[in-house]
């Protein structure tokens, strides 16, 4: 098991390295000159321009800039922000560092169990009115964009009824709407998957055997069928988490939550490339991290995977 874990962890290194190279290269292709943008109405001050160019290391050859960039990342130093002149990127993003993973994580922890419960509920009532109704809702849940739903709910619950705060971060009531809105797509997604998986599992021979033995329906569903429904679901957690992280961009902006998502949007509009690059890298890191956890859990649950990992590659 340890060898398997190590293999999987090492497998992440090329991914992270590729992300570093790509963000750096992409930054070179962005048109315009960050120092001129930073100076704006003082762009005629050549002495100041030279000082800033040196401070940001932009006066050096590209390969040295790349070396400094990679070396800095290894030390946890992402360079200096353009928008917040002379301020290290790390100081800009540190206060919001855990907000997005926390939001995404909370939505995941609410969304997945709810989705599973809902999926099983309708799988057991296949082709009933309940089934049709819930499936309809699930389709709506995946297809209505969350910003539209957010605008509607904020207007209704916050502006009109005054039940919940419009925006902000600091109290539990401020977290309710954003987490809920983030959780809706995964609920719908997981429910549809678990409905399908459950229906499939229920057709299996061992379920019929279990029933034939005279076990209660409850026991058959929750002990025998559920486990095998959860295994394929586990693989989708990584994808769901990725979707949630990108969902934070919109939700954090709408609800004015000081996380990396809102900061990414702000930094893009303010052309604060070092901050944008750092956030892209961090999101890659979070995403890769959750996939590693999923892979490891999968190995724990299904021994075939960790034993055959050498040959089969990715789980």
């Amino acid at each position: 098991m340890r060898a398997y874990a190590l293999r999987r962890a090492l497998g992440l290194l090329p991914v992270l390295l590729a992300a570093v190279v790509l963000t750096f290269v992409a930054n070179q292709f962005v048109p315009g000159d960050p120092i001129t943008t930073l100076l704006s109405d003082r762009s005629g001050d050549t002495a100041l321009e030279a000082r800033l160019r040196a401070e940001y290391g932009l006066d050096r050859p590209l390969w040295r800039q790349f070396g400094t960039y990679v070396g800095g990342i290894l030390r946890g130093d992402f360079g200096l922000s353009f928008r917040f002149a002379s301020t290290p990127v790390i100081d800009v993003i540190a206060p919001g560092l855990l907000v997005s993973p926390l939001l995404a994580g909370s939505a995941l922890l609410i969304g997945v169990p709810l989705g599973v419960a809902l999926g099983i509920f309708v799988a057991l009532r296949r082709n009933s009115l309940w089934d049709t109704l819930v499936v309809l809702l699930l389709v709506a849940g995946t297809s209505i964009p969350n910003f539209a739903l957010a605008a509607f709910l904020v207007y209704l619950l916050s502006v009109r009824l005054g039940w919940l705060p419009v925006a902000g971060w600091g109290t539990l009531s401020q977290a309710i709407l954003p987490v809920l809105l983030l959780a809706i797509p995964p609920i719908a997604y997981v429910a549809r998957l678990s409905r399908t998986y459950m229906l499939e599992v229920l057709q299996q021979d061992y379920i019929r055997t279990a029933r034939a033995k005279g076990l209660s329906r409850r026991l058959v569903v929750y002990r025998h069928a559920l486990r095998n429904t959860l295994v394929p679901l586990l693989t989708t957690i990584g994808i769901i988490f990725g979707g949630l992280l990108s969902g934070t961009f919109v939700i954090e902006t709408l609800f004015n939550i000081p996380g990396l998502g809102r900061m990414a949007i702000q930094s893009i509009f303010a052309r604060d490339y070092p901050v944008t690059m750092a956030i892209v890298l961090l999101f890659t890191f979070f995403y890769a991290g959750i996939n590693l956890v999923v892979d490891l859990l999968y190995g724990v649950i299904d021994p075939r995977i960790r034993l055959g990992a050498g040959r089969a590659g990715r789980a």
Binding site: D41, S86, A94, P95, S106, P165, G170, L172, T253, F255
Partner: protein, 520 residues
Amino acid sequence: MSLGSPVRATLAVLASALLAVVAPAPGEAKVLRTNLRADPAMVDPITYSELVAGDVMKNLYEGFTEIDKDGGIVPALAVRWEANPDNKGFRVYLRKGVKFHSGREFTAKDVKWTFEQILLPGNKGGLTLTYLKVLEGAQEIQEGKATQLSGVKVIDPYTLDVRFTRPDVLFPIYPFQFMDSGIVAQHGADWHTKVSAGTGPFKFVHWKRGQEVRLAAHKDYWGQAPSVDEISMLIVPSYDTAVSMYEANELDVIDLEAIQARRVLKDPKFKDEILAVPAAQIRYLGMNQNLYAPFKDKRVREAICLSFDREGLVKGLYGGAGAPLYGQITPGVAGYNPNVKPIPYDPVRAKQLMAEAGYPDGKGLPPVKITCEPTFKDELAYYADQFKKVLGMPVEVEIQERGTFIKRMNAGEVPFFPWGWTADYPDAMYFLSQVWYGPSPYNRSRWKNAEFDQLIDRAQGVPDAQARYRLYHTAEQVLLADWGTCPLVVRMQIALRKPNVQGVRLTPFRFLPFNTVKLN
């Protein structure tokens, strides 16, 4: 449903983390809640160089003078000043009994110290540095050859002499932010992350990056002491969110961008809560005669200025949050001339002028690009369309990334562009001497006129404000009579305040300090 214990443990950790992060904030009695569009870039007067930072810091720091609610200049930390006969310096008499946030008294040595701190090369002096370069001895400090500023002499605690290398009659009105010279000794070099060192009506409490800047009343303020106990400036980058928060009573005062203000201006329920003031920002059309030969003909320039409808532009594109601009000084900025002649929208006369210049219906005009950055793409499309329709001018629209565009304008490489300039200090000299004065690096359309330059040179040496304004008016007339530019529009600043909030002062230079604000 059975969840495995690792999952349960994760759930518990996440739930407690969520609770820890969203712990309730303590409530305060009289807190004015307002918005900032972004985090301030800094809260340090030495490196100060940015708009949002200015919105915060004007509540904390003061200069020799300040502006009143009509944009007029009034004494603040200086009570009066006398220009030297050669205009290369001032004697400044400081206000007595002014207390810093630390409780120490403000005196002449703090002025000298502030200037020196901004000039010291290691300190990365910001915007204020621009205004100090005129001081004698400034260069020596900047080059590391001196640490004492020879151009500032402390006569007594309330009197000082400043000496310049060239005449600069505007020195007392520059937006200085005087700091407590004892602050570093008391709080260390990173003092500005903990306290404020000013004399303003509010003092710094905290800055939670991405969330809030909080200020508290400075009870010993020399002027009108604040009526509110604290100001909570919430960082709300989305204006839509800010408006929703305002509607839900989560904010008392909000400021809005003109373009986003359309929704608010149209909505009758905000009617009595709107404040609108023209911004201290000129907008102009740059026509570079070196790059496009037809611009050399004054009739062509005039025709261009007559061929678009300023009123329509304001109504259509600005949603009413603007006003036509007919000169190159905006209303509310000292030196503004209310008698500048309106420029009509006159397509017939414009066509006739083009024909007189030898380009009937645009025939014979070489193609030209009209350029701007993405923010103004709609406005740009309107101008291009009008020039094509009315004058038959072969104009191509070009949108360029901001940094590239600014660089090209500075280099004098953009033939045709709409652009603007925002005043940093409350005097029309800012517009005239930076955008239209020949030697200025920001004369981006390269319009040059010897008479105009002479008038500006003369005005720099006239300490009497009224006499100086007369020179501005003459210079502005020279520019307009030559059709050196087409003034475009002036943007309105829009703010909302709840009916229970009184004394909010919105000026061409944004909000004044909130010490006059009362919450009922």
